[in-house]
């Protein structure tokens, strides 16, 4: 940076660099250890490393509890992503494109679930269904995950909608398109990158959720994270390391891939828009 020329500035900058490097190592070292240990041949989950082996990935695919938990999480996450995105787009449209009484209140309400600790969300929903004497079902788990993901989806779609100029929609309307047709033909295509990001975000939030799911899951049902927790109760096994590594590869790989696709989509769109305007 310009102007770091006196000694206090130089030392300050050196300290900043050093702490930054340490922080990045701190953030990733434990996960790196898990990934390395998942290929360890040892019967135990920890160090030292005794040899290279893929054995623990093999046992993982024969572990029926893990496979069942994976399926549960996958389905819940898919439904959460679909429902949350649709509901979130509608709310974001209203909040960005309309003026109405109570808008500020709706805006705050939409963000609220992100600010309340999960433990309280968990107990709250559970007390509610106990009060009306309902059992814990998959539907409760699904509704809960929708609640958790909704604020983030609304935020992401809102941010993108603000960036889309209204003139495109106005042009379509003035040319005689209905409101629905305008949304379908103009707004939605422009919104596509954000829709894509929301689906991914909602999917990840649902798939990763641990604390609230411990409260909401039906009796005897495990999701992926709660399954990992219950495996850890015995001891840290090499199988857990293998499972963790697989999940890291999936949950980091998918958004990275999604980000690349979204970037390509919005790039194509920008070109098309430019072509149409000029």
């Amino acid at each position: 940076m310009s102007g770091v020329d006196d000694s206090s500035g130089r030392w300050g900058w050196r300290l900043t660099c050093a702490v930054t490097v340490v922080v990045y190592i701190f953030l990733f070292a434990p996960i790196a250890a898990t990934i390395v240990l998942s290929f360890n041949a040892s019967m135990f989950g920890g160090f030292p490393i005794t040899g290279f082996s893929l054995h623990w990935y093999g046992t993982l695919f024969e572990n029926e509890a893990v496979l069942a938990a994976f399926q549960t999480s996958l389905w819940i996450a898919l439904f959460t992503a679909a429902v949350t995105t649709v509901v979130g787009i509608a709310a974001a449209l209203a909040l960005v494109r309309f003026e109405f009484a109570g808008k500020a209140a709706v805006n705050t309400l939409a963000i609220l679930p992100a600010l309340v600790p999960e433990t309280i969300l968990g107990v709250g929903l559970l007390v509610l269904i106990k009060a009306i004497d309902q059992p814990r079902t998959y539907l409760i788990l699904l509704l809960g995950h929708i609640l958790l993901a909704l604020p983030f989806v609304v935020l992401v779609i809102q941010a993108r909608l603000i960036g889309i100029r209204r003139v495109y929609e106005e042009a379509a309307l003035s040319l005689g398109a209905t409101r629905a047709a305008t949304f379908r033909e103009v707004t939605l295509p422009l919104l596509l990158p954000a829709v894509f990001a929301s689906v991914l975000l909602a999917f990840t939030i649902s798939f990763d959720n641990t604390t609230a799911s411990l409260f909401w899951r039906p009796a005897g049902v495990e999701t992926m994270p709660t399954q990992i927790l219950s495996m850890l109760k015995v001891s840290i096994s090499p199988e857990v390391n293998a499972l963790g590594t697989l999940m890291v590869v999936i949950t980091v790989g998918v958004p990275l891939l999604g980000g690349v696709i979204a970037k390509i989509l919005s790039e194509l769109q920008r070109r098309r828009q430019k072509g149409e305007v000029t």
Binding site: M1, S2, G3, D6, S8, G12, T16, V19, V23, Y24, L27, P30, I31, A33, T34, G46, F47, V87, G88, A90, A91, L93, A94, L95, F98, F100, V106, A110, I111, P113, V116, P117, T119, I120, V123, G124, L125, V127, L128, K130, A131, I146, L147, L150, L155, R166, R179, T204, F207, D208, T210, T211, P225, I228, L229, L232, I236, G244, M247, V252
Partner: protein, 292 residues
């Protein structure tokens, strides 16, 4: 403001908002109200309560030092976590902001990546570093510096370490967003008027980045104080926090009225923190950090 298409059609607007509003009212507002009512119900036996209203749960909470201990420990751990995050997290945020490095988006991306990795996995990974079979103990034993493994895991320190690991990205991103909003010519002006770079930082950059630091502190404190998984995995039995207390009360003892009371306590405590913050800073700062 220019009148665009149908901006005043409140019926369409409310129809679009309705699903979100209904979901949040039914799944969040209503449960909190019911929880408030439940905290006055009478506990009969595990899993059974009667709707006779009583103050017994609140009296028990207010008079029993067992609960006060949990509350104090939770506040202490939350505050320490937030403070460490602020102290340690300011440096990388400042570095990313100030660096001339061309690919600084990569540094930012690396802060987002932890959000994609399952929180449970990130937390249990610390067992590999701190445990008896963990990296630190194995290396120290091999080097002959110690004779038997140090007890690093299942301590309050390990819990704070795990929470800091989980919350640092929130802090760094919040501070970074705030730093990005600073007009850099102000710093140049301070320098040209004869400030040393340390003075310029203390008098200009630091005060202007305080809103981000404040938002980060609040977010870290609230999330740390509400945590359940981290103390469960990295702490010993004595390191349980309020979240664990609530879980045990509800899920193990099946004492729903007491569980509801404890949940209300945590909700009110953290609500006061958030309200106090938004009074001084406005919640928009947190929104900025979250959507970053």
């Amino acid at each position: 403001m220019r009148k665009g298409w149908s901006v005043n059609d409140w019926r369409v607007a409310w129809a679009l908002c309705a699903p979100t509003v209904i979901l949040i009212v039914v799944l969040l507002i209503l449960p909190i109200v019911v929880m408030g009512v439940y905290s006055f119900f009478t506990f009969v036996t595990a899993g059974v309560e009667s709707p006779e209203l009583t103050l017994a749960n609140w009296q028990e909470f207010l008079s029993d030092s067992y609960y006060h201990g949990f509350l104090l420990k939770t506040v202490r751990v939350g505050a320490m976590t937030a403070a460490i995050c602020a102290l340690v997290g300011y440096f990388p945020a400042y570095f990313i902001w100030a660096t001339g490095f061309r690919h600084k988006w990569m540094l930012l991306l690396l802060l987002i990546v932890p959000f994609w990795i399952s929180f449970t996995i990130r937390t249990f990974s610390w067992i590999h570093i701190l445990g008896e079979q963990g990296l630190i103990n194995v290396v120290l034993l091999r080097l002959g510096l110690i004779d038997e493994p140090y007890r690093l895991l299942y301590t309050e320190g390990a819990v704070i370490m795990g929470l800091v690991h989980f919350l640092l990205p929130y802090m760094i991103l919040n501070v970074y967003v705030s730093l990005e909003g600073i007009d850099r010519t102000l710093i140049q002006a301070a320098r040209s008027m004869g400030c040393t770079s340390a003075q310029a930082f203390r008098e200009v950059t630091l005060p202007l980045s305080l809103p981000g630091l404040g938002a980060g502190l609040l977010l870290c404190f609230v999330l740390a104080a509400g945590s359940y998984v981290t103390p469960q995995l990295l702490g010993g039995p004595r390191d349980a926090l309020f979240g664990n207390l609530i879980y045990d009360t509800v899920m193990s003892q099946l004492n729903w009225p007491m569980g509801a009371t404890l949940s209300m306590v945590l909700f009110v405590l953290l609500g006061i923190c958030a309200a106090a913050y938004s009074r001084y800073m406005g919640l928009s700062q947190i929104m900025k950090g979250m959507s970053a």
